[in-house]
Symmetry: D2
Subunit: 136 residues, 4 copies
């Protein structure tokens, strides 16, 4: 099992008047992690993938065990749990040092330009498989 | 059981290059619905509530059965499922016409200025109770 | 001269750790005001306009004379200063009560699906003209 | 004269239905560049600076000579034009390869926790001075 790792410092723009990350901003970080995973982990640039299709999120379940503050150095780790014909389910965690900040599980669907599910190209399916681990 | 209803047109800023709502933007809409619920449903202005505390989201689980497009008129409905000592769990749905676009379940925690859970004031607890229904 | 007016309450999502509107969020409000202006002021739904073209901002100059806080009720006012062949220049202000919060001047360009400037349809040009006033 | 340089790839989250950067997202990039400049260029972590004050933008003037697309590698360059008692004016440009994408000029104001202008600490003023160049 290989984990994909993504680093994200908590920036001013992520934080709310309580001084902690505003939770919708975590979903932008999650999306950035997925984009970096396709770019660097799978060597499939996200902008190429989106030329003839898209990768919407069908469901996402997220826990935030502790808040993150401006300046925190977050480390995201991603693993693939299941690769379907046109979908993939992943688990992602984020921590700061030893402190857990986020755990999430979500399903992406590969769709064509008309919004219909489309089978993963074989090379992507094979690469996704190399990041598979046991479900958390 | 009373449902709180919130209307949100899908705006240009919500949409991605695939022409559909970028999923992190849904979480901004969800937060706007919660803010409107406190303002209008509970008559507790969100900015008052945040003067001496905050209301972070501890967990949120979301399904997106179909995409939303620029110009769609979304109707969000909120009900409270459980009111704890310093927390509340809600269910929210969004639809466009008869088409379901989002269902979510989440837990808010009422915290004080130091980030510690703080019991709901009695008036808020009582008002939250009036929006309680069966768990979806 | 007719002014187009747009109301926007300052929401939790707009505010930064200093408790004031994070300035990039003002530009989302400005864009929302333009979208509402096309929808309601010109009766040209923004999503229709974007089916075969787009309306990027070529330049924008903005002053923020005082900060806005969570809960402030902002009133935006828009007037058109100049309508070119495929462009339009507008002035926008936002205030809370009598207090000025934002003044801006910007130029929009109407482009086709290939990104080339495209002349305004006559009906839009005529309607834009009805919101023209003296440059501020 | 020293320029501070900041690299930002155009990500999916930055782009609109027309497939180009939605202009409010540029202002988030501009803010991220300023945050990186304080962190790395001045060695004054932005989260430290915000513990007892803030750095709002008083005015910002921006031109976008050409659109940016998903996947573009943007290079931002920053120089300081003027350092006042509690303010600083900067010029920023962004390009992709040889193509200009953004030029901006803006003024930051250093304020205390009550929102009043506060003189720059001497060390910050001195460091800001080292990034000064001629106004563009």
């Amino acid at each position: 099992m290989i984990l994909f790792e993504f680093h994200q410092k908590v920036l001013f723009k992520h934080c709310d008047p309580a001084g902690i990350v505003f939770f919708p901003r975590y979903f932008e970080m999650i999306n950035d992690c997925i984009e970096a995973f396709f770019d660097q982990g799978l060597n499939v640039p996200f902008h190429d993938l989106h030329r003839e299709g898209a990768l919407p999120t069908a469901q996402i379940q997220t826990q935030f065990p502790a808040p993150s503050r401006h300046g925190d150095q977050l480390i995201f780790q991603l693993q693939i749990n299941r690769v379907g014909n046109s979908s993939a389910t992943y688990t992602m965690t984020a921590r700061c040092g030893n402190g857990g900040r986020l755990t999430c599980s979500a399903t992406l669907v590969h769709i064509d330009a008309d919004g219909r599910p489309e089978a993963w190209p074989d090379t992507i399916r094979w690469k996704l498989g190399s990041f598979m681990g046991e479900a958390a």
